[in-house]
């Protein structure tokens, strides 16, 4: 597998009177078609690492290569452009724009990227929503959808520009067990059927046990990086620390 993400010595320190280290010297390689769970106790730096991998935050030290692009030294515009084309985000709370319908929310990243015609965007948004069982809810606004439906719309939005990488921050954290299972299956399907790489931060041990690979953090440091034997018999990436 060619590496989609290559992180070397990623460190994030919050400047303060007493500086806080969120992520400490993390090196890892993530390839294509991987479903990875980042686990760890609260405050262990899981989300911070995810934001660094998603170019939402900048490391204090270390380098990050994303889809073959070295991201160090990129300005805001270049980072945003890379994020738009390469990464889809799913957050714990759906984070949909409340004034727009499900279809319009999914169309927003496509409109920003501007690769498709308006007609193609409408069609693709409808297809993405239909694929996750929301064909009848295209024109509903977020407040007219259930929590699980909103999160599924957020997944569809993350896929709008067909990015190779989907980063999910506690995607099932605010859902009931039924909706959690639906969302997990959709994410799993992204890897198996669509060839995406999904990196999900989760507290849910059940989910963590069902993915390809599990990276465990404690105090901002990777303490284990192992493949789930149940899924695959491959060893973990050797440079994981």
């Amino acid at each position: 597998m060619s590496p989609l993400i290559e992180a070397r010595g990623l460190t994030r320190i919050l400047p303060a009177t007493v500086p806080v280290t969120l992520v400490r010297d993390v090196s890892l390689t993530i390839g294509e078609r991987e479903f990875i769970a980042i686990t760890g106790p609260s405050g262990s730096g899981k989300s911070s690492l995810l934001y660094l991998l998603g170019l939402l935050d900048e490391p204090t030290e270390g380098t990050l290569s994303l889809a073959g692009h070295d991201t160090s030294g990129l300005d805001d515009e270049a980072r945003a452009k890379l994020r738009l084309a390469t990464i889809g985000f799913v957050f714990q709370f759906h984070f949909l724009l409340p004034e727009f319908t499900a279809r319009e929310n999914v169309e927003i990243p496509m409109r920003k990227l501007g690769r498709l015609s308006p007609g193609e965007m409408r069609k693709r948004a409808a297809e993405l929503l239909a694929a996750i069982g929301l064909a009848d809810h295209l024109d509903k606004r977020p407040d007219q959808l259930s929590g699980g439906q909103r999160q599924r719309v957020a997944v569809a939005r993350a896929l709008a520009n067909d990015p190779p990488l989907v980063l999910a921050d506690e995607p099932t954290g605010s859902l009931d067990s039924k909706s959690s299972e639906q969302v997990f299956l959709i994410l799993d399907d992204l890897v198996r059927q669509r060839g995406k790489t999904v990196v999900a931060v989760t507290h849910d041990l059940d989910i963590a046990g069902r993915v390809d690979r599990r990276i465990h953090l404690v105090d901002g440091k990777v303490v284990s990086d192992e493949r789930n034997d149940a899924k695959e018999a491959e060893p973990a990436t050797p440079d994981a620390r």
């Binding site: 989300s47 805001d76 957050f91 709370f93 984070f95 724009l97 927003i108 990227l113």
Partner: protein, 415 residues
């Protein structure tokens, strides 16, 4: 950009009441600015028209700007003359025929040569001091604004034979005289003649209606005992703006003090400039207040929409996009307010144009009977320009702040 516009409109429509207040603030500013500018400009135009219409564009009098130089001073650079009393000039413009011909050769307009002297009109025991102006009726009719203000008769009536005089209606009233009445005119030299009133005018300017009397030039010369003399040349130009250039040339050629209407009314024109400065300062202040309204709403929106900013940034929107988004929101409010303000300004102007004053004697003459209004597209453009500039500044400040928001902080805060 269309996406940003849609997002902007969605945001501001989501703050219905605040949006209405902000737009109303801008609209009031724009509307009142337009109405005020229209009124001020109208007043100024009306005032200028009165100045240009009622006054000669260039006036040459029998004065000189400096005392006449002694011949020795012209010949010897170091000549020093002490104890000399300058020769008494004979009052009046010398060689009037020659001066008139010289002026007619280059002046693009009409010229009237007259003799202005002081005198007293006496009738029924009442004495009123007036300026007696000796004129050529034909020349005067082509130059003087009084030609259009006659209640009875005209300048041509002077040429009807005998000693005739044309006076203002207020003077006639003070004397108790009317058309056809013969009054006695006594000049400053003591000469006295009976003159029949053959014309009455009303200009609306009391000083003229009560203090001027027009007679034939030769009669004025007889009354003032100055045969063939004139002391006042008035020029009405085809283009009033050419007055300073014409005046400079006329003064250089004749040597007599020549004053264009701009110089004669310099202080008034300066006052108009000051008035305009005051007006635009007030308009600017109104727009500043409207700008605070816009600043307030955009700040509130950026605060409330911090989560949206984080979402959009996580999707791949840049800091520049965020800046543009909220700037567009400010401009949209400015634009909406300007459009409404245009309607309001036009309506106010239209309402003011319907106001009618019924003043005594206003049927003839130059008194204002309506509010002076100027209808100019520039008032609308300038007011909207002010509003949009103010909206842009008011939108930019919170927009800059919004662009700098760190999405991670917001996402963490929401989690």
């Amino acid at each position: 950009m269309r996406l940003l516009l849609e997002l902007a409109i969605t945001h501001i429509l989501g703050r219905g009441r605040q949006t209405v207040v902000a737009i109303a603030g801008v609209a009031l500013g724009v509307g009142f600015s337009i109405a005020m500018a229209s009124l001020m400009q109208g007043g100024e135009d009306d005032f200028m028209a009165q100045l240009v219409d009622t006054m000669p564009h260039v006036q040459i009098t029998d004065e000189r700007r400096t005392a006449r130089r002694q011949p020795a001073e012209d010949v010897f650079a170091l000549a020093a003359i002490a104890g000399l009393r300058p020769k008494e000039d004979r009052r009046g413009i010398l060689n009037p025929a020659e001066v008139g011909a010289m002026l007619r050769a280059f002046v693009p307009g009409r010229i009237s040569m007259s003799l202005r002297t002081q005198g007293v009109v006496r009738y029924a025991g009442r004495d009123v001091g007036i300026s007696i102006i000796g004129i050529d009726p034909e020349e005067e009719a082509a130059v003087s604004s009084v030609a259009g203000d006659f209640l009875e008769g005209s300048f041509a009536s002077l040429a009807g034979g005998g000693n005739n005089i044309i006076v203002g209606d207020r003077l006639a009233e003070r004397l108790g005289a009317r058309l056809g009445t013969t009054v006695t005119v006594v000049s400053s030299t003591g000469q006295s003649r009976g003159f029949k009133i053959v014309g009455l005018f009303h200009t609306g300017t009391t000083a003229r209606d009560e203090g001027e009397g027009y007679v034939l030039l030769k009669n004025a010369q007889i009354l003032s005992e100055r045969p063939n003399a004139i002391n006042d040349i008035r020029i009405k130009l085809d283009d009033p703006a050419a007055a300073p250039a014409v005046a400079r040339r006329a003064e250089a050629q004749t040597g007599y003090k020549t004053v264009p209407w701009q110089e004669a009314n310099e202080s008034l024109l300066e006052a108009l400039v000051i008035r305009n400065v005051i007006m635009y300062t007030v308009v600017g202040a109104i727009m500043l207040v409207a700008g605070f309204g816009i600043f307030n709403i955009i700040s509130t929106i950026t605060h409330e929409k911090a989560r949206d900013i984080a979402i959009l940034k996580s999707l791949g929107f840049t800091q520049g996009d965020m800046r543009r988004l909220f700037l567009v929101e400010g401009l949209a409010l400015g634009l909406g307010g300007s459009a409404l303000g245009w309607v309001m300004g036009f309506s106010l102007c239209y309402a003011m144009s319907l106001v009618h004053f019924e003043l005594s004697g206003a049927a003839v003459g130059r008194e204002m009977t309506r509010l002076p209004l100027a209808w100019s597209i520039w008032h609308y453009v300038i007011a909207a320009g002010f509003a949009l500039a103010s909206a842009a500044v008011a939108g930019y400040l919170p927009a800059r702040q919004a662009a700098r928001l760190n999405p991670v902080d917001i996402i963490r805060g929401a989690s």
